[in-house]
Each structure stands twice: as C-alpha cells, then as structure tokens.
Amino acid sequence: MILTLAIFGAVAIATPWLTRLLGRRVFAVIALVPAAAFVLLLTWMPGVLDGAPVVETVEWIPRLDIALSFRLDALALVLALVVTGIGALVLLYCTWYFADDEPALGRFAALLLAFAGVMFGLVTADDVFVLFVFWEATSVLSYLLIGHYTGRKESRGAALQALTVTTFGGLAMLVGLVVLAVAGGTTSLSELVANPVAGAAGEWGIALVLLGAISKSALVPFHFWLPAAMAAPTPVSAYLHAAAMVKAGVYLVARLAPGYADLEVWHPIVIGLGAFTMLVGGWRALRQYDLKLLLAYGTVSQLGFLVLVTGFGTRDAALAGVALLLAHALFKATLFLTVGIVDHAAGTRDWRRLSGLGRRMPVLAAVAVLAGASMAGVPPLLGFVAKEGVFTALLDAQAEGGSVALWAWVALIGAVAGSVLTVAYTVRFLWGAFSTKPDVPPTPLHATGAAIVVAPATLALAGLVTALGVSFIEPLLAAYADVFPGGHAHLALWHGFEPALWISLGVFALGGVLVWARRGVARLQAAVAPVVDASRGYLGIVSVVDRLAASLTTAIQSRGLPGYLSIILAVFIGGLGTAAILDAGWADDVRLWDYPAQPFIAFVMCIAAVAAVVVRQRMAAVLLVSVTGYGLVVLFGMSGAPDLALTQALVETIVIVVFVLVLRRLPKQIAQRNPPVHKLARSVIGALSGIVMGVIGLVALGARVEPTIADGLPALALEAHGKNIVNVMLVDIRAWDTLGEISVLVAVATGVASLIFVSGRTGGAPRLDDGDLGLDRRNRTRPLPEAASSIRAPRTSLADTDGETDAAAEAASTRQTWLIAGRTISPRNRSILIEVLVRLLFHPAIVVSVYLLFVGHNAPGGGFAGGLLAGLALVARYLAGGRYELGEAAPVDAGRLLGTGLLLAAGTAAGSLLFGGAALESAWFEAEVPVLGTISIGTSTLFDIGVYLVVIGLVLDILRSLGGEVDRQQEEADTGLDDPEPAPTAAVPARPAPTALPDPTPSGSIRTPADPAQSEREPEPEPAEGGRA
C-alpha cells in the first residue's frame, strides 16, 4: 500500500510535465494508476475476506508512537475500491471533458490524481494521526480543485468556504483523536475500535471526532459548503463531492461505529443530525433550477442518510449502510458526469432553458434514468437493494425495543420522509434535464464525442449489475458488518412481501404526490426557505471574525515601532510580573554584595546607564554605554571570570570603533533631537520592565532545585585535555553551540558586507596597486594616459582640498613612512606618533593573539579572545592608515577567512564521523612546546582555530564595509557634489568588484570640489611611482 501511495505521488509530480507532451490525453494515461490499484485491490480481496487484513507499517515518529501504518480490512477495501475505481473512470472522463487549451490543465490533472492517492491513503491508514494527515490533505486538494478557475469570484469564494469549514472540523477532530489516543494508549485506529475508550474522555473525544466527520460530509449545520463547491469543474464534483471526499466522514462513522455506537453523544449527532440533514438537503434539492445544485443538495441529503444508517450501530444497518454507500457512489457520480455532458452540449445547466435533450441524446438519457432510478430506490437496482435493507434493519431494531428503539423511530421517519423527497427531486432532475418542454424552444447542442458517455454508462451499469449479482458482493460487505453482534439479514432484490417493500411502495406514492402537487410545494418552499440558511450565518461569522482580527491587529500595532514595542513590553510586565510576584520561591540567600568593591563599580555603571537615557549627544550615549561594558569587564575580572573579562574588553573596544565609523557619516543632529513625546510613558515602561527583570532574577535564583551540573565539569574538562573549563566547554563539550554561533557570525559578517557594498562584495579591502582610488564611472570609461599604479592621485587631490601647495605634497610623498599606506591619508590627518605606535604594536599583537589561541585550552584565552585581539590590531591599522592600510595589513578576502574558519570547525565536527566516532568527538596528541608549555593539539584545537579565523573574518568584514567602503562612498559623494545627480544615487554606480575589473590597473585623477574643472579638463600626468616608499 505504501508503494502504491508512492506511485500515486510520483506520477502526480510528473503529470504537469506529461501534460505538456500529451495534452488532454494525459488523463487517459494517469487513469491507469488508480485502475492498476483497483486491480491490485481485487487480488487482495480473497485474503481480506478470509479475515486476514493486509497490514504494512513503517516507523515514523517512534517517540510519539506514530507510525506509517496501513491496514486493509473489509471496510477499507470497499472504500478503496470505490476511490480507485471511480477515480479511474473520472480521470478517463476528463480526457473528453477538457480541451487541450484548458488553462492550467497540467496542474488540474496532477491535483486530481494526487487526490485519488491521498484518498486511498485516508481509507487505508491505521494510525489516527496518519489518517489525520491524509484527511487534511484532502481538504487542501479540494481547495485547490474547487478553485480551479482562479479568475472566477465564485470559484475562489467557494474554495475558501470549503477549506475553512472542513479544516475547522479537522482541527476539532485532531483534538478528539489526541484525546482518544492518549486515553486509549495507542494511536492505532483498529485497536481504538477494538478496545473502546470509555468515560468522559471517550465521550468528548468521539464528539470532537464526529464534528470533523460531519463537517467533511457536509451535514447540517456545515452543509452549505457542498453546494457552493459546485463552482468546481464537474469531474471534481463527481469525484470529490459525490464519490470520494465527502464519503470520508461516512467512512469514519462506519469505522468507529462498532466501538462507540453506544456512547451517549453518538446517537444525537449521528442519527439526529443525519435525519435532519436528509430532510433539509432533500427539501432544498426540490427547489433548484440548476441541475448541478440540485444534485449537490441531493448529495447533502444522501450523506445525512448514509451517516444515519452506517452509524446506527446494528449489524443489519451496517450491512445496508455499506451497500448504500456503494450504491450512492455509483449513481451520484454517474449523475454528476451526466450533468457535465449536458452542460458541455447545451452550455447551460438551468433546466428552464433545456428542452428536447432526451430525444437527441438517448444514450445519455438512458444512463441518467438508470442512475436516477437507483437513487430513487427503484428495483432492480443497487439503490433499491440497499434501501430495502435499511428499512428492514430499522424496523427490526425498533421491534427489538430497548434504548435504541426511540432512535430507530427517529431514523425510520427521517429515512422514509427523506426517501420521499429523494423520489421527488429525482423526477425533477430527470424531467428537467431531458424532457421536451412545450414552452421552451429545443436547446441548441454542441456535438460531443460519444466516448465521453463511457464513464457514466459504466458506473450506471455497475449499479444494475451489482444489484442483480448482489449475492456476489455481499460477502465483502458482510465481512465489515459482521463485526457487529447479532443480525441475520441478507441483501437481496426480492425478500417477499415484507414491510420494507410496502414502505418502498408508499415512498414512491408519496413522492408522486409531491411531484403532482408541485405548485403547493413551491409555495411552501418560498415561505420556509429563509428560515434554514446556514450559509448566511457562516458568512456573518466569518465577516465578524475578519473584522475583529483586523481591528485588533491595527489596535495592537499602531503608533509605529515604539508603540508596538510598548504593547509587547506591557504584556511582559503584566504577565511575567504577575507570575513572578505570585511565585513563592525567591532566592533564599540574598546578600548585599559579593566583595566590597562590587557596589562601587555597579554604582558607576548605574549612573552611566541612567545618564545614557538623559544625554542628547549620541556619541556621549555610546560612550556611557561602553562605561557599563567596561564596568562588566572589571566585575567579571574580579569574580572569577577572566575569559569573560578579556572578551568583553576586546568587544567593547571594537564596538566603540564601529559606532564611530558609522556615526561620523550620519548627519550630526540625528539621535539627538528626539522629541520628548511620551517621555513619561517611556520612562514608566522602562522602569517597570527593569523592576520585573530584577524580580525575575531573584525568582530564578530561588528556582533551582536540582544540584548544579557544574560539579561534573572539571572532570570532563580534564578528560578533554584542558584546564580552562570555559574554553573546553566552548570547543569541546558544547561545541555544537559554538558551531552554531560561528555560523551566525558568518551570516552577520556577510550581511554587513552585503548591506554596505552595493554591488559585489567579494575580495578583500582595497590594495594600493588596485588603482581604483576614488575611481568614478566617468573617469573609468575615459582612456587614461598615465600609468596606473600611482598612489599619488588621492594624496594630491586631498592635498588640494586642504589647500596645500604642491610643494608640501611633494614633501609629504618623499617623507619616510611608518605605515605602508600612510601616504594615502591627507598629511593634515596623519599622526606620525600613531603610525609609529601602530607599526610597533601590530605584529606583537598578532603574535599575542596566536598565543591566546593556543594557550586557551589551559589558560584564559582561546579562539574568540585571540580572534578579537587580532581584529583589534587590524582596527588599529585601519584607523591609523585608512582603508588601503587595511588592505595591506590583511591582504585576504574576508569571505575566504570566514569560509575557511567555518569549514575547519565543521570539518572537525564531521571528521570524527569518518573514524567511526560521534560528531565532534575529540582526539589529541600532546607535545612539549617552549614558551607555551605542554600543548595538547587535538581536534578541538583545530576547532578553535576555525573560531579564530571566523572572528577575524567578522572584524575584517566590518572594517572593510563600515570603514573602507563607507569612506569610499563618502569620497565619491564629496567629489560628486558638482554632479546634477543627488549624492546618494551618485554613490551607487554599477561598480563591479575590484577583482572583476576588465582592466586591472585603471586609474584616474580624482575630481575635487576645489578644482573640478582641472580634473575634468586633463588628468594630471603623473610619474609612475613605486607603490612603496
């Protein structure tokens, strides 16, 4: 069965492609899939009849006891035969129903085939949650199929109605299934039926499951979606809304009835609603002009009948119920297909405009009459056999007395009255479709292929053949019914002059009266109809819910980001605050401070934090925040967290630099003139949030009941050849976390670069010999006379800007420099002292960072701290020498660093798998290294090197984006001031990455505001000069 499902799925996926090759003939091809499944099912039938269901199970979620288990017993077999058999015929019918140029034909074919597969899965699934998955899948596919004509309003509206109603029921059913599965201790449907869940859990669970069943099978009050769904193409109506999907609810009722029919909630829902639905549907059907809607209401009526009979709970009723199910699938699908042909030929389904069809389409009329007669319960057809069985079973149950006698009466009256209506609307349908109406001119007909009648004719004849040979199919139906105790009835065309026969004759007579008294019925219809209108109720509810949701959303999310944040925080304060105060478990051992210096440091930090709220200067606020950061450094350092102190100090420094890099570029007044709107409210929310967090901190400290896991960590660290527990945890014990973290860092670094580099972000920081100093599009497209490798251009230009003389610039260029790219900076901005310091400190800093990396396992340090220190060294080079200095200091692509680091770390994680270990399992060798002491180089060291590289890559990416690239954009904007274009757009040229330049050494003089004309006129000829002084 699982293989069959897989084939359904695979072919459905391939169908759109097949449709492109075959056009509408694809339907005939894919119809082979359900046809083959039908044959396969027939081969399994003998075994199933012998009482040996076909069972297949594949583990899916063992911890929840959910398995892909399928079980084909007699009931499932009947349904599966219906689903695959009618599925194949409907697909075949589609071959002639659609034209080759039907829009979205491939999608439609694929969905219809997928639906057949899903339906097959639904009726064979044994695990209730797998059943639920298929159940919802049918809802979704039904949505897509009803909405096939995406351009039509009614199509979209009907699709959404069907989806809303059936998924509402589906959710209720899921809750019910969970209740049953938990109470019953198993997810197997067959076991839940064999050992029914009793008590309140059973009652509630079954009530909820039945809610799902009646919404799917369109019982009152959910029946309205089914007529609306007639907006679908007719094959969909025939298959989903007559033969298959709507039968899912009936199937579930039939499946559960053996175990749960005697629950208190069962009979009111199943019989009460079933009988009522049968009457409502029949009554509405009797009023329709549109033949398809007439059938739809008829289907509603019949579904009520089916639920009533299959859920009645005796063996004979069950037998008659399954027979009725089979009969209904056969005749209703036939009738829908017939309407499709009529619609195709005449261009309308409104019987007021149809006349003379019976004479001109005799075969079709005969097929329809055969099926209609089965629907009305006329012998010698399956509908008659089933209905006789129903009447007999209900009469017997009523005669037996007991608690079911009352419900037997209700069911019997409902069934008889409903059958009378059925006879009447059947006549209305056949007369409306095929009669020759004297006052209507004969309807003009398009020619339709004769072959299209094959499918409905087959189904209609099946209704006749199965009735004549009912003794052959009875064993299959009885195999299901026999799970109920008692009973003795047989299905037969002729039982003799039994009460059921007289009831049938009475039904025909009363039906005839209804037809005869049609005027009176119509008058009554017009008077009563508005009273029962669930669809208006549904529309009202949906509209109220929609409006409520929209107004709530706009109310909560109003007033922009601050307003929305305030709402979130208010919920946080109200909810968590209340919970924290009600909690009794506060920290038991609260002392004022851990060591005397603590309150002083904390006091300074608090002042800084509060001052950050008050100050208007944005840089002042940043510095105040960093005061709290450096305060943390001291706190961490003084209370046994050297690693934290080290990392925090390095990060805090880099953060300040990054802030300065960006803020220098943004206009000065921003972040400084916040209008004091709601200042009080903001302060109140802030203060309350702080207090709640404080309380939460105390509660959390008191909440620990188990001993800390920290006790075992020292041993674990030593086992991992490390003495610094924090580092060992980062790179070994909790290395998965770290792997995740550095992945985040890689993403962040890439994000920063992508946001700043408008086009192309590969490559490293610009090098001196890249030659694109201050390059601008116009300059590049112009032939340039001079040699490219000059670094004089920016200096000269900037010197010009600063109003310096050529002589001074000349002097600057010949001056000995401490930093390689120092001369790219304007002499006025250069500081020899800083250059010297950076020159002297850079290499030692890198050495120390490597030292930190390698000793990290045993002493404070590690990949994070080492990487940050190396990053800080790069920051210094950048600050002292500008973006070219950065390029010279780290002549690598930041992306390569990030990639290599991540690869190293992930490779370490995966590497141990190759040696049969678990992911991230470590291995070592130890060595005595001078200076560093005993070093155990292990896979965790490799991992740490990966971390180190990623952190350097992150800092490098930040610097070349927020530093170098922002510098470049600034320069471009400044030089572009004389352009007619506004600055920001001028700064967004389609500038390919330096590595992608067609000419690797273009150059040009930079146009400055001071002297734009000169640079426009003639690029300054420059002596080719070595890149390095």
Binding site: G372, P562, V625, S689, M693, I725, I756
Partner: protein
Amino acid sequence: MTASLTLVVLMAVMFGAGITIMLERSLTRVLIGFLLVGNAVNVLIYLMSGAPGLAPILGEGVDADEISDPLPQVFVLTAIVINLGITAFMLALIYRSWWLAQLGAKGDLIDDEDEDLHDAEEAADLFRISAADDAAVQELIEASDEEYDRALDDELELEASARDDLEAGSAERPEADR
C-alpha cells in the same frame, strides 16, 4: 542560591534604562538601548553562577569545589561575541537605510506612525475582495432557488400532465427511453 543584591539592582537599572532608550524613534538610539539591554542580560545570566569563586581554570592547587560555575560564563562569552555581530549588522542596516533612502538630514528616525492607517486600508480591501467572492457564491446559489410566481399557475397546470408521465416512467419503467 546566593544572590548579590548589587548585581540584581545593576541588572534591573541597565535593563530599565535600555528599554527606555529603545522606545525612542531614532534607530541609533534603539541600538544604544539594545546594547544596554544586552549587557543587562549578560549580568542576569552571570548572576546564575551564584556566589563567585576562583576562575574555572584547573591549575596547580586549585580545588574544583572553589571555582565559579563555568556554565553561565560559557553562555555569556558566546552572547558577548554575538552582540558584537548584531551591533555591526544593525549599524550597517541604519547606514544603508539612511544612505539608500536618501533620508539626508532626516536621519534615522523611523517614519511608521501612519502605517496603521495603511494597514487598515489594506485590510478593508481584503474584506471587500473576500466579501465579493462570497457574495458571488451566494448569488449563484440563490439564483438557482425556484421563485414562486403566481402568474405561472396556469402554465404549470399544463405541465402537470407531462410531469405525471415522467414520474410514472421513472418509477415503474426505469429503462424507458423518453
């Protein structure tokens, strides 16, 4: 667990100050508030160590019972580095939105106060569309309902005989070809 009231108060103050700043309209200020909140959260996690002890480094003569709980330190260390990344990312966002949207002197103020009006309009549009879809369905279904029309009474009398024939046909002779 041993709790230092100083640290709890510090955490609460930083948190409150950070939230207050975050509620402003300038994105840069929001980021500054975010940094403060980040520091506050780090203190909160660090608080869970309980009483501080020696550094969790198993050197010579260090008793494993006297060290600080290393687990919160690991979390905080990770959080510190992630904070750096997020800060840089948000700064890049601020810069880019300012630069590309040509906000100029308007700076980084978020201008979303009128968005709820826009949302309300959008929602109203959606209602209109879905109501139109539903109305189309309803109309289609109601169009099929038979109207009772007195003027037709006479004509219907005429039809009655034809109907009777058909009823008899379908009830008694299903195969009859009409």
